[in-house]
């Protein structure tokens, strides 16, 4: 198989696998039983998922599948956390967080 054919095969199998994982629970909802313990577990998915998506991005720089500690990102994330908590405003959090990242990158660069 040529690389192009292989890559299209990769695309198609990945698409089918991904679609299956994200669709079947939505499609089958109401047709399979929903035990009470499942409700208890699922209640916490949004907070757990959001935290798992925030923390690595706030601590590390992820390049070419290696993670390196990024202090400027961590400082900016802590400042953004305070803004998010106090204002509950997405745009304010985004603006302050990005500005804090640039200032922290510049300051850490100027120091070191």
């Amino acid at each position: 198989m040529s690389p192009v054919v292989q890559f299209w095969l990769l695309i198609i199998v990945l698409a089918v696998g991904t679609w299956s994982m994200r669709s079947w629970p939505i499609i089958l909802h109401g047709r399979v039983p929903h035990p009470p313990w499942l409700e208890r577990v699922l209640r916490h998915v949004p907070v757990a998922a959001l935290t798992a998506l925030v923390v690595p991005g706030a601590l590390y720089l992820h390049e070419r599948s290696t993670y390196s500690f990024a202090p400027a990102r961590t400082i900016a994330a802590v400042i953004a956390l305070v803004v998010a908590w106090r204002t509950k405003n997405t745009l304010a959090t985004l603006a302050v967080g990005m500005a804090a990242l640039w200032v922290a990158q510049w300051a850490l660069g100027a120091l070191g």
Binding site: L10, L14, T18, T51
Partner: protein, 238 residues
């Protein structure tokens, strides 16, 4: 703004959903550019870039599969890595299914296709906090906005990827927006506890475990912790 006589509830819900993900689009854009640029770097072109973005539509797995395949990894390794990265979407799907229960059977496969981190997060937090929207249309509005931006940016990335300055750190917008969604979702002590457990697990495990599987382990750990706190106590009726 509430929906008024001038705007149908469907339209209002769709627009509110699109607005719900709007701040995230700033972070999705550079991500799409990276996905497009990765395709070029792996030696493929616009057809592969567009094909992948349209039929897979799952950013992190697209970048991982492309980069691995492009660096000479066997097909099955690239495929398994990408599928493990997407396994969290199964958890999202189980979790969001009751929220989308009003959707008719024919629409559900399409709703599944639209399920990505950003749309899940916005619907489960901001969407459910709006008591005046049709939540299915809110979800569709967010999904369509993300889909359009993703396609445009991955094409742009395939065309001009090598010229994007990565030093701006625009990818940082993604965790920032999730952070902004997380703050109002922490409504009680259990939620804070779940966030702390998941956060520590993610900080330790994500760089440690292969194939980004640390993300899934951290989410499962946080869910398990929350369920354990909420367990029915002895002598208490459920």
């Amino acid at each position: 703004m509430r929906h008024s006589v001038r705007m149908s509830k469907t339209r209002y819900s769709f627009i509110t959903g699109a607005k719900g993900v709007a701040p995230i689009l700033i972070g999705v854009a550079p991500f799409g550019l990276v996905a497009g640029a990765a395709i070029r770097h792996a030696g493929f072109g616009l057809a592969e870039s567009t094909g992948m973005s349209v039929i897979v539509f799952a950013g992190a797995s697209q970048i991982a599969a492309t980069t691995l395949f492009g660096s000479g990894a066997p097909l099955w390794v690239a495929l398994c890595t990408a599928l493990i990265i997407n396994a969290r979407m199964f958890i999202y799907s189980v979790s969001i299914a009751p929220v989308l229960a009003e959707a008719p059977a024919w629409a559900r496969p399409i709703l599944g296709y639209m399920l990505v981190d950003q749309n899940y997060a916005a619907t489960m937090t901001d969407g459910r906090d709006h008591d005046d929207v049709d939540i299915v249309w809110y979800y569709v509005g967010g999904g369509v906005a993300l889909w359009v931006v993703w396609q445009i940016c991955s094409v742009a990335g395939a065309l001009l990827g090598p010229f994007i300055p990565m030093s701006w750190g625009l990818d940082f917008a993604v965790p920032l927006v999730f952070l902004a969604m997380l703050a109002p979702a922490m409504k009680d002590k259990t939620a804070v506890g779940v966030a702390v457990v998941t956060g520590v697990a993610a900080a330790v495990l994500v760089p440690l475990l292969p194939l980004q599987s640390g993300l899934i382990v951290a989410i499962l750990g946080g869910m398990g912790f929350g369920a354990w706190i909420d367990r029915p106590k002895a002598g208490e009726s459920r």
